[in-house]
């Protein structure tokens, strides 16, 4: 393959919708209606209309079709963006979410008129609890970070209920940025525990660091370096011994389905990212959904309302009477339309199928790591799981950095890996192929990575100049931040 997978299309410089706009042109059509009684006093009326574009429907279609054509998604090609699980999104999930009996439900409808929707959530909750080894689950959090904050507020409510004010949350130094940001929003102080030489939580450092001011610990497992925390039982013991709770960040759940469950590892709270593990489309940056599941002792603190099933009639309803609940974390019941897609994914696979998903995800990552590690050494020696962190550090001798490799990979036809994360690895390249790519795609990507490494030595300028075949080339981010232009 040569050239970037998205190219400049159509006449250059078409510009924005504002440029396309012509006074008097329109796409809208409403029924002809009399409206003499609008009932809005003059003091509340808008004096000048907003400067929205005036375009024909054809203008809209051409414009957004062009924008789609200069955008790269999983449907365009391989997208090994580490930590994001960019797997194929089954189309049946879109069909499911568009069924009017789901898409056209109003969130204030009485429970008796939405028993099918509630049954879907109930079954999904049972499945997610089985998958994670937890007791109950809330669907309110609309994304992973929101799930983190929900989990931390549950920790806070638990400790407060026990008359136990605590101030600190322990996170590994390799943690995703949302972890410390959520800690602050929950009113806690983030304390970092270092990684050891193996890239795992340094257990002896953790044991020295914890005390009765620790409310809990947040961890992914496999961790952010793609490695399984083998001493997870020791970590759990250290935290539980001081009365803290363990939070499982589900970013990497795709590695372990059916193999090991967070609940069995000692975790008390788990969030899942449906847009990662359960293949709900990432939407260009969202929507996601971040269901949070908890163990028995934390159920009273889950957000209100929570689903309840009447033991006699089997009818489902929202239970608002939850005195120990942390309250509401979303305006309604979370991203229901996304949860319909997650249901489709979970139940089309079944238990056995989900276990195979994790097996193939781990197989793909290990195979790809094996193919590229001669040029891009793995950051740590341990066996990676569903993703691996390599480093472009050897190429620095030629003046080439991870970002140069990433840009060259674009010209060679792929979306590159995540670069410069996690922060604890120099020139980090975090590669997550996911289970939905075949061997021949992994081979082609590995060839491109090796080609780029070779070029770094023979023709480094090629990498510095990349990409050259995309709709735009390297963009001046400093200029964007200095001369703020955030609207037309």
């Amino acid at each position: 393959m040569t050239g970037a997978p998205v190219r400049r299309t159509g006449p250059p410089g078409e510009g924005t919708l504002a440029d396309v706009s012509r006074p008097g042109r329109r796409a809208w059509s409403w029924p002809k209606r009399e409206h003499d009684d609008v009932g809005v006093p003059d003091e509340f009326r808008r004096a000048t209309p907003p400067g929205l574009p005036e375009v024909a429907e054809r203008d809209l279609v051409r414009h957004y079709t062009r924008l789609a054509q200069i955008n790269y998604g999983v449907d365009t090609g391989f997208y090994p963006l580490g930590s994001c699980s960019m797997k194929y999104n089954p189309k049946v999930a879109e069909t499911a979410a568009a069924i009017p009996g789901f898409q056209r439900l109003h969130p204030h409808q009485p429970d008796a008129t939405i028993q099918g929707a509630l049954e879907l959530l109930w079954r999904l909750e049972e499945a997610l609890c089985e998958l994670t080894g937890m007791t109950r689950c809330t669907f309110q959090p609309p994304a992973g970070a929101s799930g983190e904050l929900t989990g931390l507020l549950i920790m806070r409510a638990f400790h407060t209920k026990n008359g136990d004010a605590r101030r600190k949350i322990v996170i590994p130094d390799s943690a995703h940025g949302t972890n410390p940001a959520s800690v602050t929003m929950a009113g806690y102080e983030a304390v970092q525990v270092p990684s050891d030489a193996r890239g795992l939580v340094d257990l002896s450092a953790l044991e020295k660091l914890v005390d009765e001011d620790v409310a809990g610990l947040m961890l992914t497992n496999p961790n952010t370096l793609g490695l399984f925390e083998e001493e997870i039982q020791g970590i759990a013991r250290a935290i539980h011994e001081v009365g803290g709770l363990l939070y499982y960040d589900g970013a990497n759940l795709n590695a372990i389905m059916g193999k090991v469950r967070p609940g069995d590892m000692g975790f008390d709270i788990v969030h899942m990212n449906t847009h990662k593990t359960f293949a709900t489309p990432h939407g260009g940056g969202g929507p996601g959904a971040g269901p949070v599941a908890v163990s028995e002792r934390l159920v009273p603190f889950l957000p209100a309302p929570l689903l309840a099933r009447d033991a006699d009639t089997g009818a489902l309803s929202w239970d608002h009477d939850r005195p120990d609940s942390i309250g509401r974390v979303h305006g309604f019941h979370g991203n229901f339309g996304v949860l319909v897609r997650a249901y489709a994914y979970v139940f089309i696979h079944g238990g056995h199928g989900l276990e195979r998903v994790s097996e193939r995800a781990v197989l793909n990552a290990n195979y790809l790591a094996e193919k590229v590690k001669a040029a891009y050494p793995l950051a740590f020696a341990g066996r990676p799981m569903h993703e691996f962190v390599a480093t472009a550090k050897p190429l620095r001798a030629h003046g080439v950095r991870a970002t140069d490799v990433a840009k060259r990979i674009i010209d060679l036809g792929f979306h590159p890996a995540t670069v410069y994360f996690p922060l604890v690895v120099e020139e980090a390249m975090m590669v997550e192929p996911t289970e939905t790519e075949p061997k021949e795609v992994l081979d082609a990507f590995a060839d491109a990575m090796l080609q780029a490494a070779g070029e770094a030595e023979s023709d480094p300028q090629l990498l510095h100049d990349a990409p050259t075949t995309t709709p735009v080339r390297r963009l001046d981010e400093a200029r964007a931040a200095r001369n703020l232009k955030l609207r037309w």
Binding site: G116, E230, R328, F332, L486
Partner: protein
């Protein structure tokens, strides 16, 4: 395996390349003591056909807005979604992509978000918008966090006529951030005057408010700003072809539930959190912001900018923890707003307001039915006082094929909030009035 394309030969060859004999060896580092030593207790996988049959059976147990004529609002509205919106927002190059970390491959989403930000600024009369938040209530939480950071003040004053779900959400997050929202009374369904001292960070008014009533918030917002607080308006995006924009009302920060902008009802989500502010607060905005810039050849392009505010750079000092947001809903909103243009938006607003007033007149002509706040002007939503408990009336109306509204706790549970969009035909308005007359007789 349905979506993993490996053949048996592939698996064997790949294992051989790694130097392993079995897939199970890939999991050998997990201690046996924590391993799940049984199969997951989930049903077997099914075909696509069986899955859809199961989902259609579940959906058939729901009564949806195509057959239960929707007059419910209170934060989610049955506005018409034009065909072109999801024909475009549903392009899979857009919806199967993610956060544009590689801008050269993501100009489509980035430009769409830049245009979304532009249209939100035009709509609100404010200077800067971000690229989306989760929903209306969580957008208010972020606005209050901005206000507290900007003013270094602590108190958060909220009108009692703000939707209770917004106040509840604020209370939840305030529990972490260390504040308790203070509600002031809105006698007569709107207005009221909080006492503002020099420790107030935010004064929050919803306009049109939870009862649909128009709030005279100009003076209050001016007083808030005078005392060094931020004035925050919760607004209805589709009211802004008819109603004066938040910027003109004097709001410093405006937030909204953006569902009505081309997004389906979806039983409450995915929706769209809209936030706009003045440039004074741009560095305190949460989440993604797209900026225009140039590439090395001088070609115009778009990037995520001011990232030093964000969690992936600033970690515990970030302005918010938000990462994944509601980008696709923002793209749909921008297609919809461009479909409307200024003329379509105004006509839409006039039809909503006119429909609402026509229905209110027909309903209050029924014996025993009156407006809960007869002196309050309204836009597309109004509260009724009924002669019977509102829950009973709503349920009896459902039997007649009408979702009549959302029961309110006011008037001893005899109040019903009714929303009327452009989508409701004159025949549907008549049918509502006839059915209600029977139900309350």
């Amino acid at each position: 395996m349905r979506f993993a394309p490996h053949t048996d030969d592939d698996v064997r060859d790949m294992l051989a390349a790694i130097g392993l004999d079995s897939v199970e060896e890939l999991f050998a580092q997990i201690p046996a003591s924590v391993r799940l030593d049984r199969e997951l207790e989930l049903p077997d996988g099914v075909s696509e056909m069986e899955l859809l049959a199961d989902l259609r059976e579940l959906a058939s147990r729901n009564r949806h807005a195509d057959e239960l004529v929707c007059f419910a609002g209170s934060g989610a509205y049955d506005h018409y979604v034009p065909s072109v919106v999801w024909a475009l927002a549903g392009r899979s190059e857009l919806y199967t992509s993610y956060t544009p970390y590689q801008p050269e491959l993501s100009q489509g989403v980035l430009q769409a978000l830049f245009e979304y930000q532009s249209m939100i600024c035009e709509l609100t009369g404010l200077e800067v918008s971000n690229a989306s938040l989760y929903d209306g209530p969580t957008a208010l939480v972020e606005a209050v966090n901005m206000a507290r950071a900007a003013t270094k003040h602590h108190r958060v004053l909220v009108s009692g006529a703000v939707d209770a779900r917004y106040a509840e959400t604020l209370r939840t997050y305030g529990g972490g951030a260390g504040y308790e929202p203070e509600l002031w009374d809105a006698p007569g369904g709107r207005g009221g005057r909080p006492s503002i001292d020099d420790d107030v960070a935010a004064v929050v008014v919803q306009h049109p408010n939870v009862y649909g009533a128009l709030e005279p918030c100009r003076e209050l917002f001016a007083a808030a700003r005078e005392s060094g607080a931020r004035a925050i308006q919760v607004f209805d995006p589709l009211s802004l072809g008819v109603l004066a924009p938040p910027g003109e009302m004097g709001a410093d920060i405006a937030v909204a539930e953006g569902q009505s902008l081309g997004n389906h009802l979806n039983y409450g989500g995915p929706y769209l959190g809209v936030i706009a502010a003045r440039m004074q607060d741009v560095r305190r905005m949460p989440g993604r912001i797209v900026g225009e810039t140039l590439d090395v050849d001088g070609t115009t392009g778009y990037v995520l900018t001011l990232q030093a505010r964000e969690q992936h750079i600033r970690r515990e000092k970030a302005t918010s923890n938000i990462c994944t947001n509601q980008t696709l809903m923002a793209v749909a909103a921008s297609v919809y707003l461009a479909w409307l243009g200024p003329g379509g938006l105004e006509e839409l607003g006039l039809q909503c307001a006119s429909n609402a007033h026509r229905l209110a007149a027909a309903l209050t002509a029924i014996d025993g039915v009156e407006l809960l706040f007869p002196d309050a002007p309204f836009f597309k939503e109004f509260a009724l006082r009924l002669p019977r408990p509102a829950v009973e009336v709503r349920d009896a109306m459902i039997d007649r094929g009408v979702l009549a509204g959302v029961p309110l706790p006011e008037a001893d549970g005899r109040a019903l909030l009714v929303a009327v969009t452009e989508r409701r035909s004159p025949e549907e308005l008549d049918a509502y009035a006839n059915a209600l007359a029977e139900v309350v007789r």
